[in-house]
């Protein structure tokens, strides 16, 4: 891994180009972004502007085709598949729009999943899973299968899974997209609560109602950061 910078996340001139036979699609163009430890940012923009691509690169689900990405001071932009898996496991927690719980595993097993891919001992795993479930208020449903839960409950379990590994950052891709407004509100409250406890959070959302939870909004358009709105402005907007 390369040289370090101060911010927890630092993207320098990051590009993502998808190439098919004769066509090049620029999903991200020259993106520069810094996220401080403990910061809560919201990535916004219209459909197809590159929000999810940016989040995937932040979460090491994908690699940039240009530029560099520093996570906690280390360059992670061009790691191998296995190295990225290792960093994902240690440093990143995901919350997806469609929850992405494994239907054949119980709530407990789903939350335990990232811990099983690390080297956490069984006793500690159990303790961390229980704590995470307590934090999202789902400890009483530990033995249920995802299909036995409502959408909101499933997303809370997904949030518990995201925090169980004690990652450096939490990435949420449209976490309220599949929820009604009441459940959406609950999930956003939960993220706000995690933030207040010190979590660094990046949320992709295009719902202005939830923008107020963030310290900063990063506005994307056609793969470029067109505007960064600070907390004071957001409060004015809200």
């Amino acid at each position: 891994m390369g040289s370090s910078t101060q911010a927890l996340i630092c993207l320098k001139d990051v590009q993502k180009v998808f190439s098919t036979d004769e066509v090049e699609t620029h999903a991200l163009s020259h993106v520069n972004l810094e996220v401080e430890k403990g910061e809560y940012i919201s990535i916004a923009g219209p459909s197809g502007c590159g929000k999810s691509t940016l989040l995937s690169i932040l979460g090491l689900l994908d690699s940039p085709t240009g530029g560099d990405y520093f996570l906690d001071g280390k360059s992670v932009g061009q790691l191998s598949f296995a190295e990225r898996a290792h960093v994902r496991n240690r440093s990143v927690g995901f919350i997806f729009q469609s929850f992405n719980l494994i239907s054949d595993l119980t709530v407990f097993d789903n939350v335990e999943l990232p811990l099983t891919y690390g080297d956490t001992r069984a006793g500690e795993r159990k303790q961390r899973v229980n704590e995470a479930l307590e934090r999202v208020g789902m400890a009483h449903r530990a033995k249920h299968l995802p299909s036995q839960l409502s959408g909101g409950e499933q997303q809370r379990v997904a949030a518990a899974r995201a925090v169980a590994g004690q990652p450096l950052i939490l990435l949420a891709d449209e976490p309220t997209g599949n929820l009604d407004s009441a459940n959406g509100e609950t999930v956003m409250e939960l993220l706000g609560d995690l933030h207040r406890r010190g979590a660094t959070i990046c949320v992709v959302t295009h719902d202005p109602r939830y923008a107020g939870y963030a310290d900063r909004i990063v506005q994307l358009f056609d793969g470029r950061v067109v505007q960064e709105i600070a907390e004071e402005k957001i409060l004015e907007m809200v």
Binding site: D62, F81, A85, S98, I102, D104, L113, R161
Partner: protein
């Protein structure tokens, strides 16, 4: 370990979640692994399993007399045995044995029982102690005829004597002579040969009582009749034993030039397929083992295809796991654990199947009076093989899907965007189907070749009458007849049977043509023919009575048949076949030529007839020199009655048996059957191969058809939208049908071409096992290819039928 348990737990959960898929996979694997375990258990019994109950069986070796004419595995004479036993430094000892048939009379009931005449050290050398009573003691191997004792097998003890614990000390009648049973061999002990299991052991010194013919054979160095088995001394290798025995054998040759000139010794490890039943079965078993492994491979490809299809449904789950930080290796491990779990379940089912089918295999009864015995029980070696093949199978069918599934495009997987199957994914599935078609074509062609061989063998003229002929074997020595009494018995028997209504002609023959394992050679010197230096000329022969050639419809080309007047005291005569006549008297009239039998100097036999060549030992054999000696001049106690009939001989079997028994109830009769049945049984090896290969070929065809169907059905389900669009823009149902069938047939044709290429190359190696056809038999190649194309067409048509029923509106709205 903990992670493995996690993977196992999840794998089990998935198995129960998809019971239908699990059942199909486990059943296919069960069939594939089951046939492998069955054939392997046969392979194991014949070639791998050491002699049961024998101490250190890997130290046992077999010793054979070899001749310069190419015969390598000849028997050993008793004097040679004694010299080799007492004058060597490399064996702990040597044992000698001769397998014979005896007539056991117990409570008035006669039964033919396989027995072994053995040297006194037989049991001690093998390291076998009696389960009841004792084995033989040294003094029972000293004086001829002095100790009428016997050891019986555990099986016979249970079957005929009700496991009587007080049996030792009791008397039984063998060939009308009383023997005292001194002991019962331990359970599971089957003697000193794989595949041949005597039930009674008698000391060699009693041979004259049980094996009449040449009472002086214990003294005759030229009479080679014993199988010799030795135990290597500790620390002595087989090569050292060979090197040490060569000078001894050379010395024996020098000391006894009349009998041992030109002979040498061949030593082979016991039970390693060089001789006997092992050498007969090894090629067929090796072929079958290769075939069942290919069948299993086809099953593996089917399951791999199924798992690749199922992997599409699991893209999201795998995506989540990868997002949570699982490495690819970890995902592959989890998927392989699941597939090995499936294959282990398949292996268990396979073992059950093997347990059942190995008994079925034993139902093939070959035409031989040899005491054949194969222990097919599923021992540790079969279990290990099955376990190993199960795990390997799991890895084979699981690896490709696991590698492919573990690298999905993460984002679409997590968003559950089911993209159309990538080119690479389809390519892998297509390659698997092509491989299946190719392998099944090779198997079907192999099966076709054997079935055609069997047909060809049935339609071939063996050179003698096969229909309206019956045979019945007997051995008057088992009823303690001497030569004159025996000759009189046979003379009367011929007269009696000739009078039976429907009988056309009756004769006697020592050998029945095409009897498995039967052959008979004798050393001869031909007047005017110079043998190469040091060569003892040995020729195949049969002993027959008058009317033999008429009864068996073997055409007489020159001269005359034997008559009742060709007896002891009249000039010796012989009849030869065409090949022998051409070999020894080319461009000459063979009639009147003379030859003498080795060891009977000065006594000449004159050629009185030449008969057409026929098949003697095997339908596959090339023409060989063969001669016939007249029964009344070359008496043998064990003969087979050959009776030609005007009508179906089946109805005369009972009458012939009755005639023999009415002459003397103590003469045991066996193998009473029609010649057609005998010939059917003589084709056992071909029939076994044809039936099993046919079954396996059919299984391969079904598996390949299911595989093709699966790929086409999957392809149709993935192309629903495309088909909808095509129909929306005006494609007719026929167009859609052609589209799908063309895709299936394209895969089939590629597989077919590869399969044909492989078959052309591989089937040549089968030519020694085939009969009457060439390995590249065009009719077989064409018919099998058409069959495969037909089945593939059906397998493609079914999904194509589904495709034309797609409602374009629904298909487009689905998107």
């Amino acid at each position: 370990m903990e992670k493995l348990l996690q993977d196992l737990r999840f794998g089990l959960r998935l198995l129960f979640k998809n019971p239908a898929v699990t059942a199909v996979v486990v059943l296919s694997l069960g069939l594939g692994i089951g046939v492998n375990a069955t054939i392997f258990s046969l392979f194991n019994a014949v070639l791998l399993r050491p002699l049961p109950r024998v101490e250190q069986p890997d130290r046992m070796v077999e010793l054979y007399t070899s001749y310069q004419n190419g015969l390598r595995y000849g028997s050993v004479s008793y004097p040679d045995y004694l010299d080799m036993r007492d004058r060597n430094q490399v064996f702990s000892s040597l044992l000698a044995q001769r397998l014979i048939l005896t007539s056991l009379n117990n409570s008035g009931q006669n039964e033919i029982i396989p027995a072994a005449i053995v040297s006194g050290n037989y049991f001690s050398l093998l390291g076998v102690t009696a389960a009841q009573g004792r084995t033989f003691v040294p003094e029972e191997d000293q004086s001829p005829g002095a100790h009428s004792v016997a050891v019986i097998s555990y099986r016979l003890w249970q079957r005929r004597f009700g496991a009587d614990p007080n049996l030792p000390g009791k008397t039984i009648s063998l060939n009308n002579r009383n023997f005292t049973i001194v002991g019962v061999a331990p359970e599971g002990f089957v003697g000193a040969n794989i595949g041949l299991a005597p039930d009674i052991w008698i000391p060699l010194m009693m041979q004259a009582d049980l094996y009449p013919g040449r009472p002086d054979r214990l003294k005759e160095r030229g009479t080679r009749w014993l199988d010799v088995i030795g135990r290597l001394k500790p620390g002595v290798s087989l090569e050292q034993a060979r090197a040490a025995m060569n000078p001894l054998v050379a010395q024996l040759s020098q000391e006894n030039p009349a009998t041992n000139k030109g002979t040498s010794l061949t030593i082979v490890r016991s039970g390693h397929g060089a001789v006997g039943i092992q050498s007969t079965l090894t090629p067929v078993l090796t072929l079958l083992l290769a075939v069942v492994i290919l069948v299993l491979l086809i099953a593996c490809f089917n399951i791999a295809n199924l798992l690749i299809a199922r992997a599409t449904a699991r893209r999201r789950e795998i995506g989540i796991r990868l997002a949570m930080g699982a490495t690819r290796g970890r995902i592959i491990r989890q998927l392989l654990t699941e597939s090995v779990l499936l294959s282990v379940l398949g292996g268990m089912l396979g073992l059950l199947l093997a347990y059942w089918t190995s008994n079925l295999l034993l139902a093939f009864k070959p035409p031989t009076s040899l005491p054949l015995f194969l222990d097919l029980h599923l021992d540790g070696r079969v279990l290990t093989f099955t376990a190993l093949i199960s795990v390997v199978t799991g890895l084979v069918f699981g690896l490709a899907p696991a590698i492919q599934t573990s690298s999905p495009a993460l984002l679409p997987a997590l968003k559950d965007q089911s993209s159309s199957p990538g080119y690479r994914k389809s390519r892998l599935r297509n390659i698997l189907v092509i491989a299946q078609v190719a392998i099944s074509l090779v198997l079907l062609i192999a099966a076709g070749l054997f079935i055609r061989s069997l047909q060809s063998a049935h339609s071939v003229n063996p050179g003698f009458r096969a229909h309206n002929l019956l045979i019945a074997s007997m051995d008057v020595s088992l009823a303690r007849y001497d030569e004159s009494k025996g000759a009189r018995f046979y003379e009367q028997l011929i007269q009696h049977v000739e009078l039976l209504p429907g009988v056309q002609s009756v004769t006697l023959g020592k050998l029945v043509p095409l009897e498995l394992g039967a052959n008979q050679q004798i050393g001869v010197a031909i007047e005017g023919y110079e043998t190469p230096q040091n060569e003892n000329l040995s020729l195949d022969y049969n002993v027959v009575s008058q009317n033999y050639f008429r009864t068996l419809d073997i055409p007489l080309m020159k001269g005359r048949e034997f008559s009742g007047q060709d007896k002891i005291g009249t000039p010796g005569v012989v009849i030869v076949n065409q090949t022998m006549a051409q070999k020894f008297w080319p461009k000459q009239d063979p009639l009147g030529k003379r030859l003498s039998i080795t060891g009977r100097k000065g006594t000449y036999l004159e050629v009185i007839g030449v008969v057409k060549d026929s098949k003697y030992y095997s339908l596959r054999e090339d023409p060989r020199a063969f001669m016939y000696l007249p029964f009344w001049q070359a008496y043998k106690p064990g003969m087979t009655l050959h009776v030609s009939t005007a009508t179906d001989p089946e109805g005369l079997l009972g009458s012939v048996r009755h005639e023999i028994q009415s002459l003397d109830r103590d003469v045991p009769v066996y193998n009473v059957m029609t010649m057609t049945d005998h010939l059917d049984a003589a084709l056992i090896e071909l029939r076994l191969a044809a039936v099993l290969l046919g079954l396996f070929g059919l299984l391969a065809l079904i598996l390949a058809a299911v595989g093709l169907y699966g790929v086409m059905a999957y392809s149709v389900s993935r192309r629903k939208r495309e088909i909808g669009i095509r129909m929306a823009v005006g494609a007719q149902r026929g167009d859609v049908l052609r589209l799908i069938v063309k895709q299936g047939m394209f895969l089939t044709m590629i597989g077919l071409l590869i399969g044909l290429g492989v078959s052309f190359a591989l089937t040549r190696t089968l030519s020694t096992l085939l009969y009457g056809i060439k390995a590249v038999d065009l009719p077989t190649f064409i018919v099998v290819s058409l069959l495969l194309v037909g089945v593939s067409l059906i397998a493609s048509l079914i999904p194509a039928q589904k495709a034309i029923r797609i409602d374009p509106m629904l298909a487009l709205r689905h998107e």
